[in-house]
Subunit: 202 residues, 2 copies
């Protein structure tokens, strides 16, 4: 049974319904086996709407990725009360749990496949560039706040956020492409890094 | 012009020639556009040999990945003279440079696409599991040596190697799927991690 993120609840709005059908079909079939026809099978309205709006599977998927990123951007507040050390702990939690608690492993599988399209497709590369910049800006901002609050050491926020980004992409990819189960060990080492390299000694 | 790793030099051996043709075609076309026909176009012997030996493109690619991993395993010595701190510096160099100096970005693109196949294909997942285990064992061994030599702190070798593995996969993926150029920043942060979390204070 497909798990849904909260912003993909059933709806009467046509675009939202297309996005929901895309999510379901993508989780079920993966990128290679996905077709507009199969997305249409999950869509309660007329399938001709899909062909009318989108030239190709990739055209629809790029719109879907953009929709998902808009939702994510809307969910993350620009100002947050509380300590940056707590926020970093949440980011680590999300990094090592991504796609499992909220959305299920099927969606992580699909995201990794979609990201790989960016190796040869400029449209996907533009999307993931935008997505990476958003995530990295959010992490760098949190680190900067932590330095100002005196809870983090005086590290370079951009460099530190870049390492977070690499660990984030690596974790997501590793989770669904290998049975070598290293995520728990990797998380322990990364949390040690945060304690010893990022947090101000008490 | 395709760059070749040293073990893919021109040869009379049939399997080696198939591996070389696969490498060239994969770098040129990427996974999605690759066909046995296109591999045959790079092959100086009879194309029927390819169809005789392999049932499908994926069958050939899995044999190719296995060949590449055998070569890599053969290249890395089990015993090395010198300090583990120097070996770790080499591993970091390889992590952030992979596919650029020796093999060119085209091959990294192809590897990221092949890895993404593992999200839905058991054969690819088995390969990358074996590949990950090899890399991680090598890194863990180097860390263990460094602790014995007194150049590394008393960290958990398995956990530390797992983080190296995540950064390795993340770097490779990020390099070819995003124009958000963070590798230099990520490397600085990772080197800082090694100085402050791994190396014994002098």
């Amino acid at each position: 049974m497909t798990q849904f993120p909260p912003f993909l609840e059933e709806t009467d709005d046509t675009r939202d319904a297309i996005m929901r059908a895309t999510y379901v079909a993508l989780c079920e079939h993966g990128y290679n086996e996905l077709t507009i026809q199969r997305i249409g099978d999950e869509f309660s309205k007329s399938k001709s709407l899909l062909y009318h709006h989108y030239d190709s599977k990739d055209d629809l998927l790029l719109d879907f990725l953009s929709f998902m990123l808009d939702q994510l951007e809307g969910q993350i507040p620009t100002y947050r009360a509380g300590g940056a050390d707590d926020h970093i702990a949440e980011i680590v939690e999300q990094t090592f749990d991504l796609g499992v608690a909220e959305m299920g492993t099927d969606f992580t599988r699909a995201l990794v496949e979609l990201r790989a399209q960016a190796a040869h497709d400029e449209g996907y590369r533009e999307h993931f560039t935008r997505s990476d910049q958003f995530v990295r800006k959010h992490v760098a901002h949190t680190i900067r706040s932590g330095i100002e609050q005196g809870v983090f050491r005086d590290v370079d926020p951009q460099e530190t956020a870049a390492l977070f980004q690499l660990v984030f992409v690596g974790t997501m990819t590793q989770r669904v492409t290998s049975d070598d189960d290293i995520l728990e060990d990797g998380r322990s080492a990364f949390e040690r890094y945060i304690r010893e390299c990022l947090l101000e000694a008490e």
